[in-house]
Symmetry: C2
Subunit: 232 residues, 2 copies
């Protein structure tokens, strides 16, 4: 009997946004893996740490911020091999995933490597885009709104096409792409409706104003809706 | 001192997908409101019921499935007035919201009516689109994928424009719109990559195949990704 691989959504940062299911599975499994920087425990373990019982086997999947695609693939290959050993010996393994495992989640790369050989269960989590909307007190979408979720690395032309086709847009990981997004939204007459937040759900979360913002860090989200915030 | 209005995401159907925060607030507040059909307790209360202590004041926000826009507005007006009375008397009120409160959530209409006068806190929840992706074992998006979330009521031309601009598309509340969505995806060469699920997270959840599906109920979701499920 091989073990089960769990991909556990742990939400965007607030430890209380873990689901009951993720908390239960963390209390039960013998092996817990988590993405981490090159040193230290990293954000995922910090978010879920209170639910990891002492004495568990823990696997840090370490990756630098500046690592290239080949380096990333090699790191996931190594982590998958280490996790596979536990699964082969019948031990269940849970992998912590910030936000939701299958919505821009790093768990996807372990899933792709391990799901052909092992039983997998994915526990969905609260996404940072919903947490941003809640923290900004700005609804994302209602009725029959079309919503586009746009990684900020996309080209100006691609962003323009997505914004033109939807009612509401969400930009993730804004960082140095702020001027490009701002240009697109200004041309569309939407910049004054943009809502901006950095590090949602973390202790140093900060809300910015479209009128005064000059820069945003990598972990930032911009929400914008054609109707502004007119919901009645 | 007036009370606080809480919009609580309770997730897509599995009671274990409540967050720890939603469970804590449900244990603390004196008044709990929930959307409901014209008779009976409805889905939201069934999902969260285990976390509602006995003896709480409960408000059913009743609405028929076929009610028109004016009828809907009147029902939210009545619910907002009843909730406002409790808030004015200093009692906190929690409103249950399937999925996430601000992502196509009915809480938006109470928020619009009550947030000008009362303190509001929104607790994000797990969305049905993330739960569908987990249940289908089909990742939604990775890297710099653009994602479109498309209510199935949109016109064929609008759906076509959104699908053309994105890498991954999610169709919500498919029901009788299945033939229209299928036509668009067939023309885009994407229908064989579509993943279909009805009533995600509920005891009668059912996964369908694009090759054999002939109809879907209202509570159905279709996911499709240009790359299919090639994640390596």
């Amino acid at each position: 009997m091989t073990g089960t691989l769990y991909g556990l959504g742990i939400g965007p940062g607030d430890p209380e946004l873990l689901t009951l299911k993720t908390a239960r599975i963390l209390a039960e499994v013998p092996v817990i893996a988590w993405p981490a920087p090159l040193e230290g425990e990293g954000m995922a373990r910090a978010i879920a740490g209170a639910h990891i019982p002492p004495g568990r086997i823990e696997i840090a999947i370490r990756m630098g911020f500046t690592v290239d695609r080949a380096g990333t693939e090699a790191a996931y290959d190594r982590a998958a091999a280490e996790i596979a050993q536990h699964l082969e010996q019948g031990r269940d393994v849970a992998v912590l995933c910030e936000g939701d495992p299958f919505f821009f989640g790093s768990f996807i790369y372990l899933f792709a490597r391990l799901s052909p050989r092992f039983k997998v269960e994915v526990v969905p989590g609260v996404s940072s885009i919903m947490a941003a909307s809640a923290a900004l007190q700005a609804p994302l979408s209602a009725w029959d709104d079309g919503v586009a979720v746009i990684p900020s690395t996309r080209s100006e032309a691609e962003i323009e096409a997505l914004v033109a086709a939807c009612d509401a847009a969400v930009f993730m990981k804004v960082g140095r792409h702020l001027p490009k997004i701002r240009r697109v939204l200004e041309r569309a007459g939407l910049w004054d409706k943009a809502r901006l937040i950095e590090r949602v759900g973390l202790p140093d979360q900060r809300i910015h104003s479209a009128a005064t913002v000059s820069e945003l860090p990598y972990f930032s989200i911009i929400l914008v809706h054609r109707r502004g915030q007119a919901w009645l």
